[in-house]
């Protein structure tokens, strides 16, 4: 009963919140918390686990023959795109999660502790990278069972995953920005869905752009997901890389340049 002393200890946590190692340790602790939450509410993972699997199965076996002539040919076309797109789009959850923390007062708990202001944000991003790895393992595993094989080499395939993760990071800024502005987690979710839906289906992930009407091709050809999927395809299966790479890099730089300052400013106001 009396063992829990509460006398002032000025050293408790006061030490160097500015040091990078401290930031990494705090962020890792917060990332672990985020992953624990994910494990406890597995339904929150559906978009990054079940969804790519269902898309793979559905599109390959239902539409594959009609779209590409054979299921195996379509799987080759589809899988790298689905993989890149799912990783990219799973970044939208970060804003929802942060908004939930703010509305529940959990964020205030973190803010009342002597940790770097950026630690909750960095922690959320770190946890997301673990989720991206999960997407990659699940999608490639299911794909492998369905007959998909990487035609290049592990290095280039790994580079494909890395680009997708980098694009996801850029898109995270959009999500964080919306997450800081919106009143409820549901509103963030709704807005991000509106953003994600046309980007994913108005791309070359599922069908080749030249099968589409001209006006839609115009959109598909500038859509970052088209180029991300194209780049992923080239890195997994071989083919020209440069064009898709420059488009994707341009989008990553553009999104980051516009939304990182906006998101950090909105975040700073909340922190």
């Amino acid at each position: 009963m009396t063992t829990a002393t509460t006398t002032a200890n000025p050293l408790a946590g006061a030490a160097g919140a500015g040091k990078p190692f401290t930031l990494i340790r705090h962020s890792a602790a917060l990332a672990k918390r985020s992953l624990l939450k994910t494990m406890r509410t597995p339904e929150a993972l559906i978009d990054v686990t079940l969804q790519p699997v269902i898309f793979l199965l559905l599109f390959t076996y239902v539409f594959g023959g009609a779209i590409a002539g054979s299921q195996s040919a379509y799987l080759r076309y589809l899988l790298p795109g689905i993989l890149a797109q799912t990783i990219a789009m799973s970044a939208t959850a970060i804003g929802v999660n942060m908004n939930t923390d703010i509305s529940k007062g959990v964020f205030d708990r973190f803010r009342s502790l002597p940790i770097a202001r950026s630690a909750p944000l960095v922690g959320a991003v770190l946890a997301d990278f673990v989720r991206y790895a999960l997407v990659a393992v699940i999608t490639l595993g299911v794909g492998y069972a369905m007959g998909f094989r990487i035609a290049t080499d592990p290095l280039r395939a790994g580079a494909g995953l890395l680009v997708a993760a980098t694009f996801a990071l850029a898109l995270s800024w959009v999500s964080v920005f919306i997450g800081m502005l919106a009143r409820t987690p549901g509103a963030v979710q709704g807005f991000m869905f509106l953003l994600v839906l046309p980007l994913s289906f108005g791309s070359s992930t599922f069908v080749q752009a030249n099968t589409l009407p001209g006006w839609l091709q115009a959109f598909v050809n500038v859509n970052p997901i088209t180029h991300l999927a194209g780049l992923s395809r080239s890195l997994f299966l071989g083919g020209p890389v440069a064009g898709h790479f420059f488009w994707t890099a341009g989008w990553i730089i553009g999104l980051t340049a516009v939304f990182m300052p906006l998101a950090l400013r909105a975040y700073g106001r909340k922190v």
Binding site: M1, T2, T3, A4, T5, T6, T7, A8, N9, P10, A12, G13, A14, A15, A17, T22, R25, H26, A29, L30, K32, R33, L36, K37, R40, T41, K104, G105, V106, D108, R109, F110, R111, S112, L113, P114, I115, A119
Partner: protein
Amino acid sequence: MTTYAIEAEGLQKSFGETKALAGVDLFAKPGTVHAVLGPNGAGKTTSVRILATLIRADAGSARIGGYDVVKQAERVRATIGLTGQYASVDEDLTGLENMELIGRLLDLSKRDARARAAELLEWFDLTEAAKRPAKTYSGGMRRRLDLAASLVGRPSVIFLDEPTTGLDPAKREDMWGVVRQLVGEGSTVLLTTQYLEEADALADEVTVIDRGRVIAHDTPLGLKRVVGGQTLTVQPADPARLADAAALLQQVSGSKAESPRQGVVAVPVKDDSALTETVARLHAAGIGVHELSLHLPSLDEVFFTLVGRRAGDDKPAGGGAHADPDDGEGSGNGDGDRNASASAPLTV
């Protein structure tokens, strides 16, 4: 050097058009309990959020343990513990996980974080529930976990947000015991409350705020002198003896007995001896009682005395039914919360 653990001067804060704080001063000496008494919307939470570095005041200044809440926010955060609506635990995490996370964020080693968590969970009687998600906790358990979470870093200044609202009398006593222990070990506690009883039981000093302004600052004793002493209430077991009981109370107190509600008589009394005398006389007269209690004026009555109107009410002396969230629709008249839960600890 400052002699105060908490000092705030001229705090002002507006949210859009709404003026939440219009110049609030707060001072608390180290190792004391300071109660901030006020109805919902008075500015209690806004004041604490400024003191805890969660929001910035538009004007005024505040220091915690001598550290400026704006310029030395980091130091302030290493000094304070926050509970309740100011800072929540994560409902998806277990009690233990929540405590360990905070320990890790306070730079404890994994082992130390676990040990500190176990120690506090045991102190708050949560060891058995330690591995359950916090969302499965009862209201009282959740309150204890919130408090335990705020103590991981051994803060010297602790902010408690209405620590006993919604708790039953036994749990309230437990919580009061915890607060007394914290202060006994040298911490300074600032608690917000809607109950004068609670302020009286715990606080060394009380600041009463209303609509963003301090309307009184005093010791509980001084405050009671201003707002009047205690009320002695008797409910005879036999309603037919009500008049006898009223006459008896009048003799004891020298004031005319009133009937705040059906079957009950009450008189203001000046000191505690009135209670024993009343018990003796009731016994002698053979009047059995259902209820016999001595309690302080409610927040509503405090406000009525201090500012001439009901708490949170814009009109002078109206019905203040919305002032107290526990005071629901049923009370109707202004005396409804005389018998609110806060009077329980003094009930005989």
